[in-house]
């Protein structure tokens, strides 16, 4: 039976004025009834445009049909054939630009809530799935190393272990998950879900070595000496960018990376943890991406009375997901659009006490196709803040490039790798995710990890 509603089943959420004071998940997830009802909105169309919009080609109409039938475990099993991290993707993928963006239902009303259904299936499996012993693929005796345990590395490791490889993942921090652990906040992606995905891989036989900085603790070449026959590098885009404006080294200026790591990985919001963090009253977050939204919403939850998003273009150009912007506004984050910081002001003791900004207006489109922001002369004003968080993007970390012979960079300064196969200039080294492309999305990184797993399989079979 088809559900003819033009709109998605709304996602149950914590009240904005309650949730902006806690770190519990914002969206509480569909109930079984809601999921079945939503699944019945899927037209099961023959062309399956949704699937072509998914970087890992999840068999979307098939899993949705199972949910409609109330076969939730089967739905999960269908997703698992292509995606190793559905509970994560269902939460953090930009579905509006991918699967849902191409959904036939979207032409006349809202698309089917594919992301919410994926999350539902994954959560249902985690809560109800039977404890049948995990099937391990028969080992083929070949060792592969994966550098970085973020989405690219986890996806690559998951596919390789399924193909029978002996897989070891090296992580530089003390906890697995990369950006899923240090970057994305608990209220958007509970860390228990990341841990569950890591444990699932461990049960299948993947080994994790934490506190191992490849390039320092050992080089990629030494991994080959240790018997690894292929190496996948999924180290992400690490180094935070600053604006090079006066006052950026004042006390209370953070990179979003540092601020989010202290809060998410190091749990600065829990009193039993020692992690120091500034408790600010008024915070300005510079930037308009998802990372900026995460930082702003964390600052609010850390007790800030006023939190600003300072972005130099307008709401039409802001890069964060609509849902995140909507959540941020609901939670009381103040958007200062068409505003650009020019200096940070400090007290005599060097603590931040203000952000000097100028107003902007939009001119002609630039190379990115977005209208270029132009400064309004003489429009300077000071935003009264005591902390500033820079969320204006990251540069690529050169550690692996600098310590690996014959590994060539690409034009952006990342690791030079074929986008389809992940192959690099160095025999046996494959790379993918943000380390190659610069900051992108979790799902694109996963796609790159999966593609590299295929290439590594072909490469090792041919050798």
């Amino acid at each position: 039976m088809l559900n003819l509603a033009k709109e998605k089943n709304p996602m149950p959420e914590q009240d904005p004025m309650v949730r902006n004071k806690n770190f519990k998940e914002v969206s509480t997830g569909y109930t079984e009834d809601m999921a079945v009802n939503e699944a019945m909105r899927c037209l099961q169309c023959r062309k399956k445009p949704c699937t072509t919009g998914c970087p890992v080609r999840v068999r979307i109409p098939e899993f949705i049909a199972k949910i409609a039938e109330g076969e939730f475990e089967e739905a999960y099993q269908i997703i698992s054939t292509t995606s190793s991290l559905p509970a994560i993707c269902g939460r953090v993928c930009p579905q509006e630009n991918q699967c849902e963006g191409r959904c036939s239902q979207g032409t006349k009303g809202e698309p089917v809530a594919i992301g919410r259904l994926e999350r539902f299936a994954a959560d249902w499996h985690r809560e109800h799935g039977t404890d049948e012993s995990v099937e391990r693929a028969e080992g083929n005796g070949h060792k592969v190393a994966v550098v970085g345990s973020g989405p690219a590395g986890l996806a690559c490791a998951g596919d390789l272990i399924a193909k029978g490889y002996d897989v070891t993942v090296f992580e530089s921090l003390h906890k697995e998950g990369g950006v899923l652990a240090y970057g994305i906040p608990e209220f958007r992606l509970p860390k228990a879900i990341v841990s569950a995905e890591v444990s699932a891989l461990q049960e299948k036989g993947v080994e994790f070595v934490n506190n191992a900085v490849i390039g320092m603790s050992m080089t990629v070449d030494e991994l080959f000496e240790d018997g690894y026959e292929a190496v996948f590098v999924g180290t992400g885009a690490g180094l935070p960018q600053f604006m090079n404006i006066p006052g950026e080294n004042l006390l209370g200026v953070y990179s979003a990376n540092e601020y989010l790591t202290r809060i998410n990985l190091m749990k600065a919001y829990k009193p039993e943890y020692d992690t120091p963090i500034q408790i600010a009253k008024r915070v300005a977050v510079i930037g308009g991406g998802n990372v900026a939204m995460d930082a702003a919403r964390c600052a609010k939850r850390m007790g800030a009375e006023e939190v600003y998003i300072v972005y130099r273009r307008s709401m039409d150009e802001i890069p964060a997901r609509k849902e995140e912007i909507h959540h941020a506004i609901e939670e009381g984050i103040i958007f200062r659009l068409l505003t650009n910081p020019v200096a940070i002001k400090g007290t005599e003791e060097a603590y931040v006490c203000g952000l000097e900004c100028v107003e902007m207006e939009l001119g002609e489109p630039d190379a990115s196709g977005r209208r270029r922001p132009v400064e309004k002369k003489g429009s300077n004003f000071i935003l009264d803040v005591d902390a500033v968080i820079m969320a204006i993007g990251t540069r690529l970390n050169k550690l692996i490039l600098e310590t690996t012979e014959d590994l060539e960079p690409n034009k952006k300064g990342g690791i030079g790798a074929d986008e389809k196969t992940g192959a690099t200039s160095h025999k046996g080294i494959f790379a993918g995710g943000d380390a190659v492309t610069g900051a992108a999305t979790v799902i694109l990184a996963m796609g790159a990890g999966k593609n590299a797993a295929d290439s590594i399989d072909q490469y090792l079979e041919a050798n």
Binding site: A212, V213, M216, M218, N249, L251, S255, N257, P276, Q278
Partner: protein, 282 residues
């Protein structure tokens, strides 16, 4: 887990720990550092290595118990294990082309200057070490320094041991006596390093310092450890920890290192009060 295999109190507040960390030990070089976490609730703190033994798979750290984490660290005994040790991090000390060097240490900084001095001495460089302390009671590692350097000069602020005065006084005397130093290395409190650099600048001697800054990951990701070198922002974790001291913006470094001082003061009182620093886990 990273087991503690040796512990030695060097004076009333400074302790030496030997820790099993084979991955770090096999690559460690003088001048590099580690980041450790005592337990699940601990913060990640950077500490320069005082030594390493690749065959045993161990590293040495020497720390002064002044903050919450170092006070907690002081509660660990041989056989206990730390939650995390990662490294080696940072660039190793550059020694190429050096023939004669003066290494200046101050307080706990002496322990961190020692592996650099010894590393240089082992590499055939003539090393004069000036080890400065406040008073006789806190002098540490004298035998090790003597064995690992060409000449050792100990100074105390109050004159209770060695020569009375600051390290800069002794350094000045040695330079003026005509010792041809290719380089000076200074490790200690920022104020001491600053004054050493002011002195050596007058004589045109290149001076290398090892900087400590707040950091989280130690791989360049957080940007918390930014220091201004020659007017440019550098990350102490990946660009350092050693820099040309004459280019360091000392006032800003000292200021940045004071960021969490209020929280730290409060944290320390929390460590000692009820449990004497031992954490009880529910």
């Amino acid at each position: 887990m990273y087991k503690i295999v040796g512990k030695r109190r060097l004076n009333s507040t400074i302790t030496w720990l030997e820790i099993e960390a084979p991955l770090v030990a096999r690559k460690a070089r003088p001048g590099q550092f580690i980041i450790l976490r005592t337990d699940e609730y601990g913060e990640r703190i950077p500490l320069t290595m005082a030594g390493h033994n690749a065959e045993k798979g161990t590293i040495d750290i020497i720390y002064q118990a002044v903050g919450k984490t170092t006070l907690l660290l002081d509660q660990f005994e041989v056989g206990d294990a730390l939650a995390d040790v990662v490294g080696p991090l940072g660039k190793p000390t550059e020694m190429e082309g050096l023939k004669r060097v003066a290494v200046v240490g101050g307080g706990t900084g002496n322990a961190l200057a020692y592996p650099i001095a010894k590393g240089m001495h082992d590499a055939g460089i003539e090393v004069d070490m000036i080890a400065g302390f406040q008073t006789k009671d806190v002098v540490i590692l004298e035998e090790e320094f003597r064995a690992g350097t060409t000449n050792l000069y100990i100074t105390t602020d109050d004159g209770s041991y060695g020569e009375k005065g600051f390290t800069t006084d002794k350094l000045k005397a040695l330079i003026e006596a005509g010792n041809p130093y290719d380089e000076v290395v200074a490790v200690g409190p920022p104020v001491m390093m600053k004054f050493v650099c002011q002195l050596t600048k007058k004589y045109g001697i290149k001076t290398v310092v090892s900087l400590t800054a707040y950091m989280v990951d130690g791989t360049g990701m957080c940007g918390g450890c930014r220091v201004v070198i020659g007017g440019e922002n550098k990350f102490a974790c990946v660009d350092g920890p050693e820099f040309d001291g004459q280019l360091v913006d000392w006032d800003e470094l000292i200021q940045r290192n004071s960021f969490y001082k209020e929280q730290e003061k409060e944290d320390i009182t929390h460590v000692c009060r009820l449990t004497g620093g031992v954490r009880y886990y529910a």
